[in-house]
Subunit: 317 residues, 2 copies
């Protein structure tokens, strides 16, 4: 089968071995895979992963020996394959499983291939009203929903979202649904325009931002973004960290204490709410798609995805 | 001027005196007023109010001597006129002001007239993209938003809304936006169909409802609704009381303690989020309008509003 592999460098392989599902796993035929910033970071050598890339997908179950009712179903799936037995799994926090492998990120081959495997308990059937091009956004949309899962965003809150990348645009849309006052700050007028068309307030990063926000979401991926977020949040406000940083960030922790700021780290989120929001057409993902390539052209697709100003690039398997 | 008055019985008066605004107040020319269940209860003699009825409105400021910038503006407004000096006002809870008067409900003439008065600090300018027929729903929509203001509804929560009246339908729509799984339960298939068209799950009250909900909202107005809500909420779940009852409700408080249920009473809510949701077209109020009458036909309008199965009846002044 075809696969996009990373092993010190990105390679397209036309004759990779088809994976064999382990007990409890399904074999999934990929329809679409999305290129995420994490994939770009892996290709830059940051995460130490070797194997087939990709964690965003929509596909069809080709084989599931122990759960044949899945065969033929169009699915999306959780990316953290958990053990089901550790303390985190037992307390209902499977995405924090201490023995987890992560699709295309950590010790588990990913979705940028004709086939990949995933335990069936991580799968979600996709309602027929959701087209493939939307369903492939379920995983990042779930990550956006993790913010409202963790933090009580009140309708009267003033919220600032820093970052107009793929995730920042999804986060702003999810937060808008609470009725709160969202200001999205970014560097790209064309990306911010996607939100402005939905009636949201947007601002270019260079302009002065009014401080005193109840909640600030840092989704820029840059240490400067964190410093800006810290300056914007009000005393007793909440600062949600959605970016991962590759370098240590210098942080005045005493000011966090003095202002009693609530720092919340936020990663993977719940899939079912993301599917509900897509099914009810409450989130607009289509303007985020900047290009679709065949898996055969995966190397070109990665170049395109890494270009300045480009949002989501999809791979059709 | 014309006015719909209640003084032991409902009366239409064609020559009521035009009110004179007090210092800090605006004189407002009414465009539309909505008939709420509270108005129907007043007319049934429950609340002891005498005066001009009505608290839902959209109008235009005709006079505001101390704040002339309001004149000519299309507005909606808070219904609780607060003192600004009591403990509740000082802690930022104006809707709980101990000296408040309430528009058309308590010691303050209401909006079912050509003109009424309200302090200008309670007014909100209506964005031009919101038509009058939507703006008149701002107050009940704000009351629906009060639930998400008070309670952290998580995207993964299973929520049951009991009641398919005007308020129940607005509450279900607001909760849907969180991505949570909402089940609306009511007695009227045609009203529930408004929600089903938006992709929401609905159920007729007589059918068995699966218990164990994370959050249950009681919006039926009946003591049976409270008992049902109590039976549906899970241990450590939240029961939101949105109805007012005219009789004492028998309540097994020890079961509430044993199950550690969080009982939350909920009344008036924030206006700005309600206006944002209307402006961003995230709430559908038009299917809730069952009739519009001229203020001249106010008595007929009240009969219509009190008829079984009728949702919102508007009065055009």
């Amino acid at each position: 089968m075809r696969a996009l592999l990373y092993d010190e460098r990105l390679e397209f392989c036309s004759n990779a071995p088809e994976p064999t599902p382990l007990p409890g796993e399904a074999l999934i035929r990929v329809r679409l895979a999305g290129i995420c910033n994490t994939d770009l970071e892996i290709v830059r050598g940051y995460l130490g992963f070797r194997g087939t890339l990709g964690h965003e997908f929509v596909g069809v179950v080709a084989r599931a020996d122990e759960a044949p009712e899945w065969v033929g179903k169009r699915v999306v799936g959780e990316i953290n394959a958990n053990c089901g037995e550790c303390a985190a799994c037992r307390r209902g926090d499977p995405t924090h499983c201490s023995g987890r492998t992560t699709l295309g990120i950590d010790q588990r081959d990913g979705t940028m291939a004709d086939y990949f495997t995933l335990p069936t308990h991580l799968l979600y059937s996709v309602p027929s009203s959701i087209p493939d091009e939307w369903a492939v956004f379920t995983e990042p949309l779930a990550a956006a929903c993790e913010i409202t899962q963790q933090v009580h965003i009140r309708p009267t809150d003033r919220v600032v979202v820093l970052g107009d990348g793929k995730l920042g645009l999804l986060i702003a849309q999810v937060l808008q649904l609470t009725g709160c006052e969202v200001l999205s700050v970014g560097r790209h007028p064309d990306k911010l325009a996607i939100l402005a068309r939905r009636g949201m307030r947007t601002q270019i990063a260079q302009e002065k931002i009014v401080p005193g926000a109840d909640v600030v979401v840092e989704a820029t991926g840059s240490p400067e973004g964190f410093a800006t977020a810290r300056a914007l949040v009000r005393p007793r406000g909440t600062l949600v960290l959605k970016s991962t940083f590759h370098a240590d960030v210098t942080l005045d922790l005493s000011m966090v204490v003095v202002d009693e700021v609530n720092l919340v780290g936020s990663r993977c989120g719940p899939f079912l709410p993301a599917l509900r929001l897509l099914e009810q057409r409450l989130i607009d993902v289509e303007p985020l798609i900047h290009d679709t390539f065949s898996l055969d052209d995966g190397l070109v697709a990665f170049e395109r995805a890494a270009s300045a100003g480009v949002l989501k690039v999809l791979l059709a398997a």
